[in-house]
Amino acid sequence: MAQVVLSEIPPLGAAFARAMVPTRGAAVRLPEHSIVISRVDQDPVRLAAYNRVCGFTLRDHVAPTWLHVLTFPLHIHLLGDKASSIRLMGAVHVSNAMTLHRPVRFDETLTLEVGVGNPRAHAKGALIDLVGQVRVGDEPVWDGVSTYLSSSAKVAGEPQPVERLPFEPGQPQALWRLPSDLGRRYRDVSGDPNLIHTNRLAAKAFGFQRPIIHGMWTHARALAALEGRLPDAYTATVGFAKPVLLPGTVGFAAAPTERGFSTAVTNRDGSKPHMLMTVEAVGR
């Protein structure tokens, strides 16, 4: 895959506006290049704010979801490319998988690379993967795959069944009360300006009664609930089932598994999932 090297993280506003513009034509076209940006220093003040919003203790080591946040502007930039027929408008973040290969310090200088590919048929459109990697020098320290469903796009072929994380209804172990300003607070630390998270009218335009919290906040909050017991290196796999409306109250449950944890963010009574997450230790 060809690389396009950027000298700095692109500002989100313009790229986001481009990525929001719908495109015509059903056949999926995706940029064939990846975007690379090196010498990225992490902003400790923004990291501290991110940790506060998501519930992480401020440590020398960062959460893997924070590394995802750092790659997010590159996702937007890539989807805003002329070669991309998929726009963020109408695309739904359906699942995510990330692997932290080793603890990453907040003061490590990073190289970020993001590519897009793997278009495949889905009953409601097409799925694509935004694939990210974070490196320290030449060493990959984090890999992530964000899978989006674009309802306006089409890919030839039979839709493949989508693997779903198993869910058993159960009594939540915790209730999280999500305030109405949570979308704004997460926007401020993540840089994701999508109005469906902060604005009632925008949310309604996309079919939601109220603004919805970012899926990656829910992901981060679930990891934060496990923080003291997370291994040094692990894969976190997440499936987003149903958006969480703001303000709102959701349930959380976690159970240990052979190599990690299985967790669910549910409605209040634990009968329906909003997000399912598994954590599995890797390597070493």
């Binding site: 400790p44 501290a48 704010a49 203790t57 401020l58 440590r59 020398d60 907040f106």
Partner: protein
């Protein structure tokens, strides 16, 4: 005591001035860093300890279970119970004695004593008047009643109230109290500045010698104590203007502790537990005493440890000369000088009910690796900083070496304790 209590070791984050390196860190963050560092050093990840005792002086209302929440964020087993204690600047020594006493009685075998404070993230409260109005409004039966009550709010009620640094009963700040003591005991500027210079130079030497390599874990890019000035000198300190005691005052920002951020933790165990689990042992916790003075009645606010020291030494049959090392917390340099003068003052000691003077300290044994002036003084953390450092110094001097710790605290209180190398 049924069981010997031993200091296994300790860990702290580097201390620093409030509003600097740890400006974004809360008490929770700082204490988690200190305890996780201790857990890593002694291989305690996933271990259920019998108890963790911690505390902070400046604490947010929603941090009522601060230490338990920190345990849950840490790598310790979530089944580890915790308690919050607070005894002003002596908190870290009082948590040490709380855990040590439980171990001595056989109620616990292993535990962590800790303390933390952040002046960067100090709680700011609403005014008394506003709080009363809000409580009344939340108890109102109808919306009309509620609006009526809320209408009483005046702009002056909305001014935030920072934590009080003054003694509630005297209205004097700690510095103002110490200024009275400083004058009363005839403590000179030179005596104070000498203590301050020694504190910085001793601390810097200890860092250079690697003394803190197994006592401190770097946090947020800070690897050494941020307040430390290795190049401190009498000449530089002499240039500072008085901070307390008026224009003729002798106390300056250089010989008073700075508002600090930091956290410290001590691992304590019974001698049997340490042996069974192959843990190192630095020193035994021998005894301790807490004391208070009548500061609203005019006594010296920060001199309560003097009476405690006299009674503790009498109980143990020890004299000042029996101690290889003495740690007197440098709330102010003048506190240390006045404390040592008081030890030698027969009349003062008798006024405390002691038989006679405590004795004269050979100051080459005092705060040999620096103290709070150079290290900083995150209030509740200081005791938990001193205990493992002193235990390590005593261990290096060989079995039987004894050390005394004296920590003064707000409210006219103080805690003293004795450690002995094993």
């Amino acid at each position: 005591m049924n069981h010997d209590v031993v200091v296994v070791g300790g860990n702290r984050v580097p201390f620093t001035k409030g509003g600097t390196h740890y400006a974004e860190a809360s008490n929770h963050d700082l204490l988690t860093a200190a305890i996780d560092g201790l857990v890593a050093r002694y291989g305690l990840a996933g271990t259920r300890l019998d108890e963790v005792a911690g505390g902070a002086v400046l604490k947010h209302a929603n941090d009522f279970n601060l230490t338990r929440e920190v345990v849950l964020s840490s790598a310790l087993a979530p089944e580890t119970p915790a308690v919050d204690l607070q005894q002003a600047c002596a908190t870290g020594l009082e948590t040490t004695m709380y855990i040590a006493n439980k171990i001595a009685l056989g109620q616990a075998r292993v535990g962590i004593a800790a303390g933390v404070d952040s002046t960067s993230d100090a709680p700011i409260a609403v005014s008394d008047s506003l709080r009363r109005i809000l409580h009344a409004a939340s108890g109102a039966r109808t919306a009309k009643d509620r609006i009526g009550i809320l209408a009483k709010i005046r702009p002056s009620h909305l001014a935030p109230v920072p934590p009080r640094v003054s003694e509630p009963r005297t209205g004097l700040t700690m510095g103002e109290h110490q200024a009275i003591t400083t004058k009363r005991w005839g403590v000179t500027r030179e005596q104070q500045d000498e203590i301050a210079v020694a504190s910085h130079r001793n601390l810097a030497r200890a860092w250079d010698e690697g003394f803190f390599d197994d006592l401190v874990t770097p946090y947020l890019s800070l690897a050494r104590d941020g307040i430390m000035r290795p190049d401190s000198s009498m000449e530089k300190l002499a240039k500072l203007k008085p901070a307390f005691g008026g224009p003729e005052g002798t106390m300056t920002a250089g010989n008073s502790t700075a508002l600090s951020d930091g956290a410290a933790a001590v691992l304590l165990a019974s001698a049997e537990y340490a042996e069974e689990n192959h843990l190192p042992v630095l020193a035994r916790v021998v005894d301790a005493e807490v004391a208070a003075v009548d500061h609203p009645g005019g006594s010296d606010l920060l001199m309560a440890p003097v009476g405690a020291t006299g009674r503790l030494l009498a109980r143990q049959g020890l004299t000042v000369d029996d101690f290889a090392l003495v740690e007197i917390h440098e709330a102010f340099a003048a506190t240390v000088v006045a404390t040592l003068k008081a030890w030698e003052d027969a009349d003062y000691c008798r006024s405390l009910g002691l038989d006679g003077p405590i004795g004269t300290l050979d100051t080459s044994r005092l705060n040999v690796n620096g103290s709070s002036l150079a290290t900083g003084h995150p209030f509740a953390a200081t005791g938990a900083r001193i205990v493992p450092s002193l235990a390590k110094m005593l261990a290096a001097r060989g079995p039987g070496s004894k050390g005394l710790i004296s920590v003064c605290a707000a409210g006219g209180q103080g805690v003293v304790a004795i450690l002995e190398a094993v």
